[in-house]
């Protein structure tokens, strides 16, 4: 069963994502900020990760940068409330495989699941 790491400081948001991902057949791990997200990426070696952007300790953008600098091959989807086109462009330029806006419901959720399916199956 592929593992997806959810990195978000909001337990509300993690709960919503966890429920949907488990229903879709993924094993889920959680981290609460970018630092933890990078550390768990290294130790847990998940098959894919979902990163929020605005988080304490280390934000999602910095985490994305560090993961790319360490040359870790990991499909990362950014799930953020930030709807700015410039933010989306920055994330995609840094190697994110998807950028989806919160709330993760309806079409947003389908987008996340489709991207995961394309990259890690299920």
């Amino acid at each position: 069963m592929p593992t997806v790491l959810i990195v978000d400081d909001s337990s509300y948001q993690r709960r919503i994502l966890r429920t949907s991902l488990e229903e879709a057949g993924y094993k889920v791990a959680e981290a609460t900020n970018g630092r933890e997200g990078v550390d768990m990426t290294l130790s847990l070696k998940p098959d894919a990760a979902i990163f929020d952007l605005l988080m304490p300790e280390m934000d999602g953008m910095a985490a994305l940068k560090e993961i790319r600098e360490k040359k870790i091959q990991l499909p990362i989807i950014v799930v953020s409330a930030d709807i700015q086109e410039t933010t989306k462009k920055l994330c995609m330029n840094m190697g994110a495989v998807g950028f989806v806006n919160k709330p993760v419901k309806g079409e947003s959720l389908i987008s996340v699941l489709n991207i995961l399916k394309n990259y890690i199956g299920q």
Binding site: Y12, L54, A81, I83, E85, T87
Partner: protein, 197 residues
């Protein structure tokens, strides 16, 4: 810096775009129709704001604050009367309104609702002007409107204050979206708006 009525009208148009997006996001989250009043947007001093103009300044509100910098400077709030805040948390989490767990879910849930809705307001404005803003992490607070204004507005400043009331139909939930734009926002905003004027 003085703002002319035409300039205020242009800023109003922009803020309206953002508030419309906020209503649509709330509607999606609550899966209930959200009614939005026409936003009241004024250039006011702290003294004028504290005169209240019909607003209950001393009632405590449950609110989420996000500050922003970049093409605009200021603070945005999503504020609810405490009862409405609890009803919204109950609606979104499925927790019973009488549940002892509801209060502990309140902070996390409202912070995320504030994050999503306020990003909608601010991001729409940034997108409309091809600009970029940086945000602080949203923070939950329980305070009066008066305290929020005193905390954010310098005594001699004139700020643009945008207030829109909304209600989630059938759920007896109401609240306000407040946007306080600092004076240093005006120059950049008005320059960005110029071609449209």
């Amino acid at each position: 810096m003085n703002i002319t009525p035409a300039q205020l009208d242009a800023i109003t148009e922009l803020v309206n775009i953002g508030l419309g997006r906020a209503a649509s996001i709330l509607n999606e989250m609550a899966t209930s129709h959200v009614r939005l009043t026409t936003p009241r947007i004024e250039a006011l001093s702290l003294k004028e704001i504290l005169m209240g103009k019909g607003r209950q300044l001393n009632a405590t509100l449950s609110s989420v604050k996000m500050s922003f910098t970049g093409m605009m400077y200021g603070s945005a709030y999503l504020a609810f009367p405490p009862e409405s805040a609890l009803r919204l948390v109950s609606l979104l989490t499925g927790e019973d309104r009488e549940s002892p767990d509801l209060d502990s879910l309140k902070l996390e849930t409202l912070n995320e609702v504030g994050n999503i809705v306020l990003n909608g307001v601010l991001g729409s404005i940034a997108n409309a002007l091809d600009g970029m803003m940086n945000y602080t992490i949203p923070s939950y607070q329980e305070d009066t409107l008066e305290r929020m204004f005193v905390e954010n507005v310098e005594e001699d400043d004139t700020v643009v204050l945008a207030v829109a009331e909304f209600s989630v139909e059938d759920q007896n939930i109401r609240g306000d979206t407040l946007l306080i734009l600092e004076p240093k926002s005006f120059a950049a905003l008005l320059t960005a708006l110029e071609p449209a004027n």
